[in-house]
């Protein structure tokens, strides 16, 4: 163990690898498929939402049953902001992010209390509470009819939101990419490493001098902002907000998204969103009304089989291709196969 160069090891994880570059190239190549822009937009938003959950679930180990609280809050705030204040999309995005940051900060103090069980109760309770408020405050939110009459201005004053989702998808994808870069930077910083330490053993993390509570508050707030932005994107690109953005179903679905893709390596949420949408499309075509049965079955099966299997498969594919590539080119780049943990 003594001859492991720690700073070098940490830095090597930070470096961009070819699968990551290929992933983002493929994502931006999707802009060339105009007929699929609407569903791709949904996938990008879901991916951002899942990325947000991954930050607290995969990195900080907080199990949340009500992450939709922030998605919904962001969605409603972006909608209300567009109606009552200003139709500019980016300003709306900022407003939603700020509001959800405050909400996340306040609720984080409740979430930090107690065990996993209390966390489940609190996160679920907060989401239900917000859902009930949105339902009751019909004069503001439109209640069960949803928030209507949202008209968005042009993006950057130039691009109009069209019916085919071209602007929408480009907008969502760029926001997703920028926020992803930020999250990636954060996760590979000392702050990010301290989070993983807390997840693996809070007691030991506290013992080596990590301020556990403050770190958890910070990441929870940060994740809330991400989820709020995802909600704002949802509102701005569909120009409608329904009560279902706060539903338990949303929270459970996003959990499944992260689990499908694998928690704790940032790409899990993005890959999971893709997988989930295809799954949803396929299942709801099969049995329109009862597709949640199959979602449930998949959850149960995934847990029983072991949910890190898909991720391990992905890792071994990456290793195989890298090794293949190296043996083909004959170059032996130093330490490039010391993969992430």
């Amino acid at each position: 163990m003594s001859n492991v160069n720690v700073p070098h090891l940490l830095l090597s994880r930070h470096r961009w690898r070819w699968p990551e570059i290929a992933f983002w190239l493929a994502a931006f190549a999707c802009l060339l498929m105009p007929s699929k822009h609407l569903i791709l937009n949904e996938i990008a938003i879901l991916a951002l939402f899942a990325l947000s959950l991954d930050l607290i679930l995969g990195y900080a180990g907080i199990v949340s049953l009500g992450h939709a609280a922030f998605l919904g809050a962001g969605a409603y705030i972006a909608g209300l902001f567009a109606i009552h204040v200003n139709g500019d999309p980016l300003l709306g995005l900022l407003a939603a992010a700020a509001a959800c940051g405050v909400l996340g900060f306040i609720t984080s103090f409740l979430v930090l209390r107690g065990s996993d069980l209390t966390r489940l109760m609190i996160t679920l309770g907060v989401a239900l509470l917000l859902g009930e408020i949105a339902n009751r405050a019909a004069w503001l939110t439109g209640g069960a009819d949803g928030l209507q009459g949202i008209t968005m201005g042009r993006l950057l004053g130039l691009f109009e939101f069209d019916l085919y989702g071209r602007t929408s998808f480009t907008y969502s994808l760029v926001v997703l990419f920028v926020l992803f870069l930020l999250a990636r930077r954060l996760i590979h910083s000392p702050f990010g490493h301290s989070l993983t330490a807390i997840r693996d053993n809070p007691l030991r993390a506290a013992a080596v001098g990590i301020p556990v509570k403050r770190r958890l508050i910070a990441i929870y707030t940060f994740a809330a902002i991400y989820a709020g932005i995802a909600g704002a994107l949802l509102t701005q690109t569909t120009q409608f907000v329904g009560l279902d953005v706060l539903s338990f179903q949303r929270s459970a679905d996003v959990m499944l998204v992260v689990i499908i893709g694998g928690a704790g390596y940032l790409y899990g949420g993005l890959i999971g969103a893709l997988g989930f949408k295809f799954l949803q499309d396929w299942l709801s075509a099969l049995t329109p009304q009862y597709w949640h049965f199959w979602i449930g079955l998949i959850l149960v099966a995934l847990v029983l089989i072991g949910r890190d299997r898909p991720r391990r498969l992905l890792h071994s594919v990456q290793k195989y291709v890298t090794n293949r590539w190296q043996s083909l080119t004959g170059s032996k780049a130093a330490g490039s196969s010391t993969g992430g943990a």
Binding site: L117, I122, L124, V126, L128, F248, A252, L299, R307
Partner: protein, 284 residues
């Protein structure tokens, strides 16, 4: 006022019968079972089918609902849950949510999504006048039955050999194992009994709480509150927590109807701020 208190009492008692199984299994195996409500729903639907389609009298249907849900619980515990005990809480949550989704969709498919009603026998309908306060006969029936059940559970837990084994296993599983207590068997039995009680609660509560395929999702938060507020180390904790929740909810509905849905959440948050380990739990 007395009527109101009594309604809240009945409501709370129902919650207790529904949730006590969850608190014991949680304390025993540290297993978070969000699918507990699915067993309650099973009991409710069994009663509906028995009374309205097979013509079984209501009182005879109740024990059948209990036994059937218990059998269902035992079956699931032995085949599925048993693999989940040493997994992380996240896995347990995902697993049990998966079960809830399946149960909800399956019931929706078989029975339809509409609300189900149980026709009560004549002698349980109407009101009694006791000391000037109107008290529903069915509410009285629930309070008496659930009170007897709670007393019975307390007796089993405190005074029987099974109860002392159970308490030993809850306190320290490894030492209990070392003393030759078969923790697995105790857990299976407790799980079955808890599911059975949930089923009974579902059957009794169909009239008051309503019964439709979304039942396990709708009441998940109630169960969680009862268990976290009451703690998992005894049966009196969840009992008092249920009563508190029931009375607060009913009183809130009556006095400030506009704020009705917010009462329980406020209660939850206040309790959590004051006592993070739960109102009646020993600090660990």
């Amino acid at each position: 006022m007395v009527t109101l208190l009594f309604d809240g009492l009945a409501y709370g008692m129902l919650l207790f019968v529904l949730a006590c199984g969850l608190s014991v299994t949680l304390g025993l195996m540290n297993f978070i079972n969000l699918a507990h409500g699915a067993f309650a729903m099973a009991g409710g639907y069994i009663t509906v089918v028995l009374t309205s389609r097979a013509g079984v009298p209501f009182l005879a249907a109740l024990p059948i609902a209990f036994l059937a849900s218990a059998a269902l619980g035992l079956l699931f515990e032995r085949t599925l849950y048993v693999h989940m005990y040493d997994k992380s809480h996240l896995d347990q949550v995902l697993f049990s949510i998966g079960l809830v989704f399946m149960a909800v969709a399956a019931i929706d498919y078989v029975m339809g999504s509409q609300q189900q009603f149980i026709t009560l026998p004549d002698y349980l309908q109407g009101r009694l006048d006791i000391a000037g306060a109107g008290i529903g006969r069915y509410r009285l029936f629930i309070v008496v039955l659930c009170g007897v059940l709670a007393a019975l559970l307390q007796w089993i837990l405190v005074s029987t050999r099974f109860g002392s084994r159970l308490r030993a296993a809850v306190d320290d599983q490894r030492v209990a194992r070392g003393l030759g207590i078969n923790v697995g068997a105790i857990f299976a039995l407790t799980f079955a009994a808890g599911s059975g009680l949930a089923g009974l609660g579902g059957a009794l509560g169909a009239e008051i709480l309503g019964l439709d395929p979304n039942f396990p999702l709708k009441f998940m938060i109630y169960f969680l509150i009862v268990v976290t507020v009451g703690g998992t180390s005894s049966i009196t904790g969840p009992f008092l927590a249920s009563l508190l929740l029931g009375i607060a909810d009913v009183a809130g509905k009556y006095y400030i109807p506009a704020l009705e849905p917010f009462i329980i959440y406020t209660l939850m948050i206040v309790v959590l701020i004051l006592r993070p380990q739960g109102l009646f739990a020993r600090a660990r």
